[in-house]
């Protein structure tokens, strides 16, 4: 589901895991664990550096499939509330220098079967959106896109 709100376009995903929030939180924050799973299929993780504190940075280095190019993604942690909340910025190092970083939030909540993970990515927040106080219409970006498609 992609929603447009007063805070800009968002990407939202949900996934349920049959594991505790603590275990899931550790898997997304501890570098030795992150190295074991992160990345789309075929990608090799080369390095993970994590300074897990508000204002601390992380950097993940990975190699694309079939001995592909090396990619790095890095950012800063903005909010950490184990095991329920992790908010951080996200930017690929090969992206244009003047492009603002994206913001990603992981929210983990206990369920009877384990843990519900909700991932929200905000695309390119700007100062205008930060200054905005009212919430706009909440709707489907896809609907609009289909309406305005040529």
């Amino acid at each position: 589901m992609t929603a447009a709100t007063g805070q800009g376009i968002r990407l939202e995903l949900k996934r349920e895991f049959a594991h505790s929030c603590e275990k899931v939180f550790a898997a997304i924050t501890q570098p030795d664990r992150v190295m074991q799973w992160m990345g789309p299929p075929g990608v090799t993780n080369l390095d993970a550096v994590v300074d897990l504190r508000v204002g601390g940075s992380y950097r993940f280095t990975m190699r694309g499939a079939n001995d592909g190019p090396v990619y790095k993604v890095a950012g800063k942690y903005q909010e950490i509330a184990p095991p329920h909340l992790l908010r951080f910025t996200w930017k690929w190092e090969h992206a244009p220098a003047d492009e603002p970083p994206m913001e990603v939030v992981f929210q983990l909540s206990h369920t009877s079967t384990g843990c519900l993970l909700e991932l929200t990515q905000t695309g390119f927040p700007t100062q205008e959106e930060c200054d905005r106080h009212t919430h706009g219409w909440s709707g489907s970006f896809q609907r609009l896109s289909q309406l305005v498609k040529e």
């Binding site: 992609t2 447009a4 709100t5 007063g6 805070q7 800009g8 376009i9 990407l11 995903l13 996934r15 895991f17 049959a18 594991h19 275990k23 899931v24 898997a27 997304i28 664990r33 074991q36 799973w37 992160m38 990345g39 789309p40 299929p41 090969h94 992206a95 244009p96 220098a97 492009e99 603002p100 993970l117 991932l119 990515q121 695309g123 390119f124 700007t126 205008e128 959106e129 905005r132 706009g136 219409w137 970006f141 896809q142 609009l144 896109s145 309406l147 305005v148 498609k149 040529e150």
Partner: protein
């Protein structure tokens, strides 16, 4: 050297964050319109509509040209489809990552 993206996605997303601007785009999807025609359905002043059009223009979503004394506006849908493609790429990226996370967790620790 990093290639500069033609479409400034941050400006496109910012432009789309406002309901009036989205409504302007929906109207322009039906065809070109003058600034006066665009302002008509909204209870806002002409300068206010012009301000919204500036944002849409900077994002590359609208093209304005002068015919005589009237300003005509035209929709440019390419930035919109680029933004949607970008979102879909990221959605796929995250889905794959969550699949990988699930496999890792299920490996039995």
């Amino acid at each position: 050297m990093v290639k500069r993206r033609e479409v400034k996605l941050d400006l496109v997303f910012s432009a789309l964050a406002d309901p009036t601007r989205r409504a302007i785009l929906v109207r322009l999807e039906k065809g070109e319109a003058s600034v006066t025609e665009l302002a008509a359905p909204f209870r806002v002043s002409m300068p206010a509509i012009s301000k919204q059009l500036n944002v849409l223009e900077r994002a590359g979503l609208v093209e304005r040209r002068k015919i005589g004394r009237t300003h005509h506006c035209r929709l440019r849908a390419r930035p919109l489809s680029e933004a949607q493609q970008w979102l879909e790429r990221y959605r796929r990226f995250w889905e794959l990552n969550l699949d990988a996370l699930e496999r890792y967790l299920n490996q039995g620790q």
